[in-house]
């Protein structure tokens, strides 16, 4: 369906996206800056990438961050999906108000409050702080994001599919696993990706809840930034950006191809009907 793209719309979009992307583009460009200054161009060089790779502290932190991200995203996806089912299917039960409050509040809760409260919890029960405390913390807020994403998909899910499975003799749990889950899988996967991103991104909560030897990449970047900005940070950032962009492009190409195939199949079916 064609629509006139008014100049106002076009301008708004262009300016808006320029605003969003300009800082990132500049960051990437200056990661190749020969000079140490982040804001004066001294020529093209990849030396900062080399420096970055040999910075053991940075590499260790990156490794911790990835492990925390993978683990917390995966657990958060399971918990978040369960929470979404409860929100959508269980209606009002005793304590459901509190439950939905606990799901929606972390979405907007300032990081400093969450970080502080979790740290105090770990201290109070004498739980040694480090990799596991950061992971537990990340699972807690990620699961809420997953819950919201899956809840949204679950609400538009055609329940008659589940009823059909029940009708054909499938007990409820198996019906969920063999019918519902495959159909809402894209939402569950987006939830996982969201959880992974939030974990990778988190600075404040990790700072509160981490322990010796478990510095995360954002923490390392932050401490370097406080000391002084060098293009090595730019290099790290560029690598992260490149990875993320590659991932998103692969995902959307994959989805687009699936969509094209599906449309072609539907058209064929309608023609042969």
């Amino acid at each position: 369906m064609n629509r006139r793209m008014s100049w106002f719309n076009l301008t708004a979009l262009t300016l808006g996206f320029a605003f969003l992307y300009l800082p990132i583009v500049l960051l990437v460009i200056f990661s190749f800056n020969k000079s140490k200054l982040v804001t004066v161009w001294g020529g093209f060089s990849t030396k900062w990438y080399v420096e970055m790779l040999s910075n053991q502290g940075l590499m260790d932190a990156a490794w911790v961050t990835i492990r925390v991200g993978l683990l917390s995203a995966s657990v958060a996806t399971v918990l978040g999906t369960l929470a979404a089912i409860v929100l959508v299917r269980q209606g009002r039960f005793r304590g459901s108000m509190l439950f939905s409050g606990m799901i929606y509040a972390p979405l907007v809760m300032p990081d400093v409050i969450m970080g502080l409260s979790l740290l105090l919890l770990f201290v109070a029960v004498n739980f040694e702080r480090g990799f596991w405390t950061v992971t537990l913390a990340h699972i807690t807020f990620s699961m809420c994001f997953v819950a919201v994403v899956v809840q949204s998909r679950l609400m538009t899910f055609d329940r008659s599919l589940e009823e059909a499975a029940l009708d054909l003799g499938c007990p409820p749990l198996r019906a969920f696993l063999t019918v519902t889950l495959p159909v809402i899988a894209p939402a569950v996967i987006s939830g996982w990706v969201l959880g992974f991103t939030m974990s990778l991104d988190d600075l404040v909560i990790a700072s509160f809840t981490t322990g010796p030897g478990a510095d995360t990449l954002p923490m390392k970047i932050y401490s370097q930034v406080r000391l002084g900005v060098t293009p090595e940070i730019n290099a790290v950032c560029t690598v992260l950006i490149a990875l993320v962009t590659a991932g998103v492009i692969v995902a959307s190409v994959g989805l687009k191809r699936q969509e094209v195939q599906r449309q072609r199949a539907e058209r064929l079916a309608a023609a042969n009907a």
Binding site: E163, A164, A165, D167, L168, G169, V183, A269, A273
Partner: protein
Amino acid sequence: MAKIPLGPIRSGFAPWDDPAAKPFIEFRNVTKKFGEFTAVDDLSIRIYEREFFALLGPSGCGKTTIMRMLAGFEQPTSGELLLDGAELSGIPAYRRPVNMMFQSYALFPHLTVEKNIAFGLKQDGMPKAEIAERVGEMLAMVKLEPFARRKPHQLSGGQKQRVALARSLAKRPKVLLLDEPLGALDRKLREETQFELMDLQQELGMTFLIVTHDQEEAMTVADRIAVMDHGQMIQVAPPAEIYEQPISRYVADFIGDINVIESTVTGNDGGLVRLKAKAAKADLTVRQDIEVAADSTAWFAIRPEKVNISSAAPEDVSVNAVPGEVWDIGYLGDVSIYHVRLDTGETIRATRTNRERIVEDPISWEDKVWLSWRPDHGLVLTQ
């Protein structure tokens, strides 16, 4: 609104008339409430084995709720539900020998046609070889063998519907529930499928329960129709009886078209009821065995095809005859519907089959005509 097929009357099949017959499905004083709203109101009905039973009514009348209670997706608020003599209320949907064909088909989008049909059999733990055999049978039955490996989004609407049918029959359930199964099909396909369903039901010897708002569909396929309104079954009878002997204006009006004239009863002797139309200033007689008191209000009803329309006055104009003017004509090819306005302003519809290809001196707009009918063609309705 012209032809209403009367449906096949299976000779001799009327277990509901047999006092010794045991019901296969029984609702005993079943009520279903959703909060304040009563969807099904103290309903009791017996459905017999091998019946093709139709629940007919407008949206919100409770027909879908009844079906869902039988399938196990809703629990009755009170009352008992029995299948083959056993109480169903404790049994969850996935353990009932009842299968449903969903209105939206509800085909599993991530499974092929084969796997969809096999789904229920897998749940029962049937051995693979047997499953393959049964699936093959089902595919042959609905003539979809070449489509076995396709996924639902690669099928047309009619094909999806057949897969849904095959899937719901694969387990050979005792009862098949059909939830408005033909709504999404175009007219021609719908008619074909209706007859196919009837043949299938007879062949398989199963009990079918169909929910529909389409009276033509109900009339075509059903052995008995239950006309529903606001959670209650107003009349349960074979199609011909529903059509020719409705027990209320609601039922009479729901199926086909009918003329209703409010009247006062003037006499009732020996099976002949006399009435005086309140507005039409006409004397009416109806040959009907019914208890009505003199001076009570009743409604005279007559189907348009039973009303005789002519330019010339009938022999006896004192009873069962009124003059009028043709106000509108609906020409449908096979029949013509005449909307005739009486002196009092009321309109009566009469339909006439166009038996001749070319009619000399046909009845036209604004013609003065006479409407008449026989005493055994009208109906007295007291509700």
